[in-house]
Symmetry: C2
Subunit: 121 residues, 2 copies
């Protein structure tokens, strides 16, 4: 897996944040190709965060390139020509290890934000 932080170790990167969500969505069997952008945008709308198409697909393809997820295509019942694209784990242990690392990273970032609020306000 790639680095989850910039070299100076400031807050976690958007890419890592999105990969974490995709692992969780896969675990919940909720990761569908077609709906992914809408799902992610719906999640974060109230937080003023609007992930763009390119960021989301880079995160997804990084997980595929790293051998964590794989794409599955299945024909939709009753629809002759339509295929549903979804994702499942190729390496479940690697996915869980990544989640664990991201928990540490999220906790660190919360600490950094807490400190900034304490120090400045």
């Amino acid at each position: 897996m790639r680095e989850t932080r910039s070299s100076s170790g400031f807050l976690l990167k958007q890419r890592a944040f999105l990969k974490l969500y995709m692992i969780t969505l896969t675990d919940q069997k909720r990761l569908y190709g077609l709906k992914l952008l809408d799902t992610m945008r719906d999640e974060f709308r109230q937080y003023g965060y609007k992930p763009n198409h390119s960021e989301i697909y880079k995160a997804l393809h990084e997980l595929i390139d790293d051998g964590v997820l794989r794409q599955v295509k299945r024909k939709k019942e009753g629809m002759k020509l339509q295929e549903v694209v979804f994702y499942e784990f190729k390496d479940f242990d690697a996915a869980m290890l990544y989640k664990k690392q991201l928990k540490t990273e999220l906790d660190r970032c919360q600490g950094l934000l807490d400190k900034a609020i304490r120090d400045n306000f």
Copy 2:
């Protein structure tokens, strides 16, 4: 003042974070040119964040370019040739407005991290 977030509105940018600290350090009369890098690194060492020289000086010069801070040089008492460089407010109201905006932004980021921890763990 410049944008404090990326276009997608993910977590706040390192630049904005550093500018906030510099405004507070100026307010506390603790912003000295020579010690700035050490001061900032000491603050964040335990959080695994090591701001680099270039990031810190870009943030400082952005505050000067925006007319918020100004540089002051004063001769050190008892030292014939040595000058102390420090910073003071050029536009105090603009500085306080920036702080206020950053509080909103830090709260938003905390909300986003809290949500990520709730959703994924």
